[in-house]
Every structure is written in C-alpha cells, then in structure tokens.
Amino acid sequence: MVDLTRRFDVLVIGGGNAALCAAISARRAGASVLVLEGAPKFYRGGNTRHTRNMRCAHDAATEILTGPYTEEEFWKDLLLVTGGQTDEELARFMIHESKDILNWIVEQGVRWQPSLGGTLSLGRTNSFFLGGGRAMLNALYRTAEELGVDILYDAEVIDLVIEDGMFLSAQLKQPVGGKTEVRASTLVGAAGGFEANIEWLKQYWGEAADNFLIRGTPYNRGTILKMLLAKGVQEIGDPTQCHAVAIDARAPKFDGGIITRHDSVVFGIVVNRHAERFYDEGEDIWPKRYAIWGRLVAAQPDQIAYIIFDSTVVTSFMPTLFPPIAGATIAELAGKLELDAAALEKTITEFNAAVQPGTFDHTNLDDCATQGITPPKTHWARKIDTPPYLAYPVRPGITFTYLGTRVNREARMLMKDGKPSANMFAAGEIMAGNVLGKGYAAGIGMTIGSVFGRVAGREAAKNARN
C-alpha cells in the first residue's frame, strides 16, 4: 500500500515514457517519488504503448543503427518538418541530450533492436524497442518499482492546488478509496495531450470530430494540461492542431494503434464519398505522405475516403489488418462501398486516360504522372485496370495534439508572466509543442519524452532538496 499521508519529494502525473523517465531519474537522484497513472494497469503508458522507436543523434553507426546521424542533421530534419515552428535553444538542447539517452535508456532496462521489417528507411536514424513500446514501458515500470518509486493506477487527478506558480497539492480520485489530498514538494506534469477528448476536439473541429478515430487509449484526455493552463501556466503550440493520419475506417474508436494505418495511397487513387479525387496521391514519399492524409480526409464530407487500387499492387505494401474490400468490376466495388457506381467509373476512366507512360519506382519520386486532370497524380501514377478492384475505407486517426505548457531548459514550466514556476516541471507530449510546433518526424515524440523526462526528474529532485 502506498502511504498517501506523507509528503512526497516529487509527484509525477502521467504514466508514459516521459513520466517514467522523470520518476526514475528523480528517484535515482534520491527523491521520494509517487506516480499517478490515470489509466488502469493494462492501459498504462498513454501513447507510449503504441510507439516502437526513438530518434536519437549519434556520431557513428552502432550495433542497431546503420550509420551516423549527427546533431546538425537531426536539427535540419526538425526544422524541415516543423517549418521553423520550434524553439531553437530547446530543440538543440534536446538533440544534444538525445545522444546520451541512447545509453541511458538501456541502463533503465530498455532493449534496442535494428529497425523493424517494413521500416528500412529509418534504420540509420531511429533505434527500435525490442518488443515495441509496451515492452519498453514494462521495462521502465520494472526499473521504477525496483528503485522504490510508488505507482498508483486508476489514479485520476481531479484538481491541482497551485498558488502563484507554486504547486501545493493534487486532489486524487480513486475507484476504491475515493478522494485524497496528495502533497508533494514538486510536480512533474507528464500526462500527455487531449487527443482522446472528443468534446475538446469539437471546439476546433466542430461535429466532424465525431468521425475521428483515436489511435491511442481513451485516457489521453488532457485534463492535467487544461488545469495547468487554467492556473497560470503559459501555453505553447497551436490548440487547433493535431497529428492525424489516414487509418482504416473499420478500426475501433480508440486504441487501434499502429496496425490500422494504411500506406497504400501511392499505389492507387483516393476518392471521397462522391467518388471524386481530391488531392495529388503522388505528392511525396514516406513518411511525409503518411502524415498529410489524416488532415485531408478530415476535410472531406463525413470525414471518410476510399483508397482504390487494383490487383496488381496488392503485395506492394505491408499486409493490412483489415482485408481490402473487393469487386470484380468497378461498379461492384462501388456498390460495396456505397458509392455512386457511375461516378466512380467516371473518375477511374478519366484517371486511367490521363496516366502517362513512365518507369515505376515507389522508392523514388518517379516519372509516372498524369496529364490533364485535376488534381494531378504527380508520381507513381499507373492505370487501375486489372480486376479484382480493391479498396480500403479510411478516416482520420488522431495521434496527438500540439497544445502544451511552455517550459525552459530545466523542463520547468513558465508562467503566463514569463517567470519560471517555483516547483512545476513538464515532460513529454504535454510540452512537445515547445520543440515540435507542427508536423512530425518518426520517433521524435519518444525523444522529447525521454530527454525532458530525465531532465524534469533530475531538476525536480534537486528542487525538492532545496
């Protein structure tokens, strides 16, 4: 049993990578630590459950990384994906620290493996967790427990007492035991974003948000973020924005994770409910193309679209969780998708007629393009003419949100007046917007979590001693 009457040195709210790195690093620095995870034990860890790798800088190839990835190259990649929406000082600090995280995280029990089958393009830059994100979490939890970190599950925080930027206590609500006042010298907020809070998403997206699927657990509700912002912490990141990819429309509302994704857009065309194309399917190569389609589908009527391809490309992409819907003719396929058959036939006929000859190469921006249609398909355009015709229905799958708490290099929260908080720190998705104002680069969420988690725990422990 955890003694909740005592005053802890460090209270960590959240239970993912950032929270556990903070808890472990604070405990290793000698602090007493309590972790409050709002989810039940099985669903612990927020989005970390569904991750698989981390992007860390390194100057030379390692056993699991195929080549060097310098700090400068990492910085340029970050600049590219964020379009400059990043705090350079914090970002460069994080990138520098990421080098040491490669080893530090192994000391916490996490194991690496070379990049997974189907992800060869990340073999140089990203280190993959052996067994995936949940295996990584399990290792961190085991280490935290062995170090003597107290951990509570189903531990919902319903209020924070903060005075003049100073955290005093948290109001804890548990299924058994009811409400308890938890006191601690310092707070680490590591409770993620609000992607599973449909009501909150509706503030920016309206009724369309009802048709969004959430890739992580239903527990990422952003309640801690909301409390912090309401109690004087400075916000960062565009509140209206979220990271969304196109995932199978047959996926569950929550927690479908990575396996519901589709990466077959480049092999066919994408049509909306009116059986009309609406965007260049050949614009860019993975991973950029991967990240734009969620937003694109969200802008279509009923937030649904259909990737349509033919039998010649079925083995060109990774096997999918849900099988494609098939039809011997375009009309039959349209019937199964409940699309207008004549409209779909017209779209495909026009598309096929516009396809120009070229040499197909899906690993490069090849010369297979269309001519004379709008929107064009600028690469990988091939005729869709070999039955059976196949389709995947897709919807926007929301991964994470960008709104967060402003922090400094100590991972210390900054208040609205610009002053650092006396004893509040933040790590992970809840402050990711400082570094990642827009876009995404594979594995960077975990880098933010581990680097700032480790820093937040260390600084909180130091703060508690003083």
């Binding site: 099985f42 067994g131 995936g132 994770g257 396996i259 990774m318 969780l321």
Partner: protein, 369 residues
C-alpha cells in the same frame, strides 16, 4: 477457411501480428510470419511448433486482452501445437491418446510396472526376486540380458518408427518437399538453436512465467531435464556397448562410465522435472493451454520417475530391494519408450524440425536462393 477453429484463430492473430511486427526481435515465430502474407493450415502448424512458449510477445503486446483485438499468441499456438501432435500421430488410430494424455500415460506406466513385477515373480523364485545379488550379471539373474535388450530394443525401435512417421506427416503438412533434410547448414543451425534453447528467452531477458518479471528458470530446468535425459540415454548406450563389445556386465562400479553418466544425468533428471513442474504450476494461466496440463505433467512425471527409480536402484542395488526396484525402473522406462510418440516427448521432435525449416528459410531469404 481453416480445418479447425484454433487454426482459424491462429490465422486471425497472425494477420494482426503481421500488420504490427513489433515482436519480430523476440523469437523465430515472427520473422517466419513476416515471410508470408497468407497462412495455410501447414504454415500455422509450422509457426505453432516453432513457438517455444516464452510468453514475451503476450507481455509486450499492446493488443493482448482485455484489448478488443484479444491477441494471445502463446496460448493460441499452444492449443494449435497440441492439436497438431494428435493430427500427426502414427498410426492415426492412436491419436486419441493425446485427448486424455495424463490418464493414458499413467495407465500405461502402471500396467508396465505391474507387468515387470509379475513377470519377475512368475519367472523367478521368490528367493531370487527378493534375494541379494552382487557382482557382474547381478541384474540378469532376474531377467536375462538378451531378453532385456530385445524387449527394450523393440520398444525403442517402435517409438522411433512412430516418431519418424509423425515427422513425415508434419513435414508434408508444412509443405516441404522431400530431400530437404540433406541441407547440413540448416540442420547444424537447428541443432545449435535447439541445444541452447535460443528462443526460450524472450529475446534476451528470459521467459515470462507467473508475472511480468522475466526469468531464466524455465530454460535452466529444461536444460537440466534435457541434458540429464541425454546423459541417462548415453549411460544406457555405453552399458550396452560394454556388454556386447567388451563383455563387461552390469552392475558397474560407481566410478565406471555408465554409472557416472547415469548418476549425473539422473540428478539433472530429478532437479529439472521438479523445477519445470513447479514453474508450470506457478505459470500465469492466461499463457497456457489448460487442456494440455495433463499431457505436460504426465511427461514430466515419467522423466522424474525414470531418474528416481534409476537412482534408487543404484543406491540399493546390493540389498534385497534390488529385484523390486529393478522391476519398477524397467517398467517405468519401458512405458516411457512406448509412449514417446503419444505424449509431450514429441514437442522436442516437431520443434526441432520446425527449427530446421526456419534455418533453411532464413538462409534462402538472406542469400536470395
């Protein structure tokens, strides 16, 4: 559609896993899965027998129950594996032995022991059965060596025949052409992988047993059991060679090779099975096929009884208990031999064959053959 409900479920899981692949570094099952996009009955039986049931993929899986995707690979493959043993049994008429295996094995063991005791009593005078015999040939006062060699040789040959027929059925089921066994590189790799239980370690940290803390205990106990069994078998072979080639008759002195091998093996075969059984009882029920408990327990107990009766015979061979102990030991060993093709023993054979095939597949993939 698949032949059985469990293969249907295994297919569903492999489809889920193949779109995820996070577990590919844990063992051989997932890399083998990745070489396929669709799964036939044979493919699934191959994967089921390739699985060493370390449990890591369950503990690591973000979709294991209570998640609605309900992914439980270790348990599903354990059921499929057990069903495959029955399907490959030769002759087919005996495949029913797998259904209530614990009972079948116990009955055969009891009958076998009883047959030896009554046999000894019927052939020999009471004085011979409970008498004290020492020196070379002491055992053969109760049962002539040639009779013993003939009976056990025949039992062993039968077991080998039945096992070979089972392997043949498995080999065909997984779609392998004849003649593939000539690939020495794959065989050698499989011997190494089986010998060190490479895939019973959760990708390096150990097995998951009663909770989410990995340990190497099952691997250790399995090594003690397997190598203990191997040493005991070696002791028997050396003894037979002594007898026929050197005309040296058992019982041998404590320092002699058959006794040293048998004693060391026997100790492994006592500690190993006890350890395996205790781990099995502690094991999280969510990872195991409850139907299989009888079969697993029966096999472990048979190995345990083999070593315990053998060691007892060694300790009391110069007393009046030698006769009954010899009958007991021979009865247990005879039952062990003839039930080998119809119990848990086959897991080692099919898993080894699956490892051979896996080694071969990997080579083909790496070298693009």
């Amino acid at each position: 559609m698949h032949g059985t409900r469990i293969l249907q479920e295994a297919d569903r899981l492999m489809t889920v896993c193949n779109s995820c692949r996070y577990c590919e570094g844990l063992c051989a099952v997932f890399p083998a899965m990745e070489m396929r996009r669709a799964f036939s009955d044979g493919d699934l039986n191959y994967l089921a027998n390739l699985c060493h049931a370390c449990g890591a993929c369950y503990t690591d899986c973000q979709f294991s129950p209570p998640h609605e995707f309900n992914v439980n690979v270790p348990k599903t493959l354990a059921v499929a594996r057990a069903e495959s043993y029955a399907a490959y049994a030769w002759p087919r008429a005996f495949s029913g032995a797998f259904a209530r295996n614990g009972l079948v094995i116990s009955l055969i063991a009891a009958l076998s022991v009883a047959a030896f005791i009554f046999g000894f009593a019927a052939i020999n005078d009471r004085g011979v059965l409970t008498g004290i015999h020492t020196g070379p040939g002491a055992f053969y006062k109760l049962m002539p060596h040639n009779a013993m060699a003939l009976l056990f040789g025949a039992a062993l040959l039968y077991a080998i025949l039945a096992l070979v027929m089972g392997v043949r059925a498995f080999w065909r089921d997984i779609g392998e052409p004849a003649g593939m066994t000539t690939d020495a590189r794959s065989l050698l790799q499989a011997v190494r992988d089986a010998g060190e239980l490479r895939y019973l370690d959760g990708g390096g940290v150990g097995c998951f047993n009663e909770d989410d803390h990995p340990t190497d205990r099952r691997k250790l106990y399995h090594h003690l059991t397997f190598y203990g069994f191997a040493l005991c078998f070696a002791a028997t072979c050396v003894g037979t060679l002594y007898h026929y080639l050197l005309a040296r008759e058992a019982p041998y002195a404590w320092w002699d090779l058959p006794v040293v091998l048998g004693t060391l093996g026997g100790i492994g075969l006592v500690v190993g099975p006890i350890g395996l059984l205790s781990e099995k009882w502690k094991r999280d029920r969510v990872l195991v096929d409850a139907q299989q408990m009888g079969m697993d327990t029966a096999f472990i107990l048979m190995l345990f009884l083999t070593s315990v009766t053998g060691l007892a015979l060694l300790l009391w061979r110069e007393s009046a208990a030698m006769g009954p102990l010899l009958a007991l030991h021979l009865g247990v060993v005879f039952a062990l031999f003839i039930t080998m093709p119809y119990g848990k023993f086959v897991h080692g054979i099919y898993r080894f064959v699956a490892l051979v095939r896996y080694a071969r597949e990997r080579q083909m993939m790496v070298h693009g053959e």
